[in-house]
Amino acid sequence: MGSNGIALLLVEDNPDHAELTMKALQRGKLANRIHWVKDGEEALHYLFHEGRYTNQQEAPRPGLILLDIRLPKVDGLEILRRVKGDDTLRTIPVVMLTTSDRGEEVAESYRLGANSYITKPVRFTEFIEKIETVEIYWLLTNRLPN
């Protein structure tokens, strides 16, 4: 991490939403190294260097995690719990992405240590704006411990 580009881990099962998010991120031209995983299991493998990702070079530590809540196999809240419970991963900011704005899910996310929470709006321009805002704040404005 650092000058050679910031790795961003996008955990999203919906391919359309992933495409949309990546489009928004690329428009900001900030995250030139986005890694997209399609389900919770793969996300855990990436973060903890298991399964396909045993080689640490292939799975660099991300500077930001965009995490969908509803995911196949292992859900987003469980991944959040694992990340925030791990001494080395805990400092990575995690932004939750979801289509529902149920109070319990928001509360549970923050309780588990999420850094931000985005409800995906139906209007896609709004969605792109939100993603860009998150990207600018968490990757540029906000200073992270390294």
Binding site: N14, P15, D16, K38, T99, S100, V122
Partner: protein
């Protein structure tokens, strides 16, 4: 509540019996008899004293008369004291007993032994208290039964509410997710129509179509789930082999290019189920087997049926991609997909299957290893007549 009713009737009879005793005037006659006896006793005493004094000449004429009078007085006092006691004691007892009942103490009191109608009255009041106790106990028991039933219903309702809530949550989530995608695709098509390549716009339009179909499937599954929860199943005897053949024909037509090797059970199992729902279960399971086939080998589906005493155990085995045991518990959850969104399924299929099976009194579970195929096993009741026959056969 038959127990309470019986206790009430019994309690009522005893109360009316004690009222009858007082009403009939028998109480008055008892008192009168005792008073007459005490008067007679006094006269006998007085006459005896008079006669004794006269024969012995121990006293002068008036002295003898005085003595006789004195003895008559004493002789009258003792029986009347006894009469008074025989009436007041039970009455006091009775008063205390009634007071105790009034205060809610329904334990039976020690009965007072008295041979006449007063004894009967006390006994009647005592047993009234006892009956009231029984009545009270019956009511308490009925109340407890009722409370238990209310608890049960409440739990059912809570469970049902929880299910509906999760149904609404997941369905709204999925509908909204689809809406986000559709909006984005349509927006991109509109905004970038000048710069888009034909191939790219075709792909996007294709995707839009898929998403529309997916939304329709979501609504269909939602309606199915609501219908299953609302309508009662209508079970009857179902020839499983025939049903299986029909379902497979339907599925074959849908999955035309896939060769399916089907192994049917050798016997002629008969199940006790709602045929249209059982059809839905089998269709879902076979469609799943077709959908999650392993592309490197020819699909083989084997359906086996075991007939047990009270139920039938049916297993649908395929040689498809299999499911990691870690997710066996999750796959029956609503709209849980282990794969991404497509036009073929919403993730509600196994939830619907599980609902149907459990509603008709069966169980369902998965046996599978990743990469080696999946077996879905479910049970369902057999027709009662057949079960009885089976028991008779076993007893012979």
């Amino acid at each position: 509540m038959p127990l309470t009713a019986r206790a009430a009737i019994r309690g009522g009879t005893t109360i009316s019996r004690s009222v009858r005793i007082v009403d009939s005037g028998r109480l008055w006659w008892t008192l009168r008899r005792r008073l007459l006896a005490s008067h007679a006793l006094a006269i006998v005493f007085a006459a005896g004293a008079w006669w004794g004094a006269r024969t012995l000449h121990a006293f002068p004429e008036w002295g003898g008369a005085l003595l006789a009078l004195g003895i008559a007085c004493v002789g009258w006092f003792i029986p009347s004291w006894w009469v008074e006691r025989s009436i007041t004691l039970p009455l006091v007892r009775l008063r205390d007993g009634v007071r105790r009942i009034g205060e809610g103490d329904l334990t039976p009191s020690v009965p007072l032994r008295s041979p006449d109608v007063i004894g009967e009255l006390v006994e009647a009041m005592t047993s009234t208290g006892q009956r009231l106790g029984e009545l009270h106990y019956g009511l308490w028991q009925a109340n407890r039964e009722l409370e238990q039933r209310v608890d049960e219903r409440t739990r059912e309702l809570i469970e049902r509410n929880r299910m509906l809530e999760s149904l609404v949550n997941t369905i709204s989530h999925d509908l909204r997710a689809t809406a986000v995608s559709m909006h984005a695709l349509a927006g991109a098509l509109l905004e970038e129509q000048e710069s888009l390549q034909t191939a790219e716009s075709t792909r996007m339009l294709q995707r839009l179509l898929t998403l529309t179909e997916h939304q329709e499937l979501l609504l269909r599954d939602l309606l199915t789930l609501v219908r299953i929860g609302k309508e009662r199943p209508e079970p009857r005897e179902v020839d499983l082999n025939q049903l299986l053949r029909e379902v497979l024909e339907e599925c074959r037509a849908d999955a035309a290019p896939v060769a399916v090797n089907l192994t049917l059970p050798n016997s002629h199992p008969v199940a006790w189920a709602d045929p249209s729902r059982l059809r839905e279960v089998l269709r879902h399971l076979i469609q799943n087997a077709i959908k999650f086939r392993e592309s490197s080998r020819e699909l083989a589906i084997e359906i086996s049926v075991e007939e047990r005493v009270g139920w039938i155990q049916c297993a649908v085995r395929d040689n498809g991609i299999g499911i990691d045991p870690a997710y066996h518990g999750k796959i029956f959850d609503l709209f849980q997909r282990l794969q991404e969104i497509d036009a073929e399924g919403t993730g509600a299929g196994l939830t619907i299957v599980k609902q149907i099976i459990e509603q008709s009194g069966g169980r369902i579970w998965i046996e599978s290893t990743k990469g080696q195929g999946t077996t879905v096993v479910f049970t369902m009741p057999r027709p009662v007549a057949l079960t009885e026959h089976h028991y008779l056969e076993a007893g012979r």
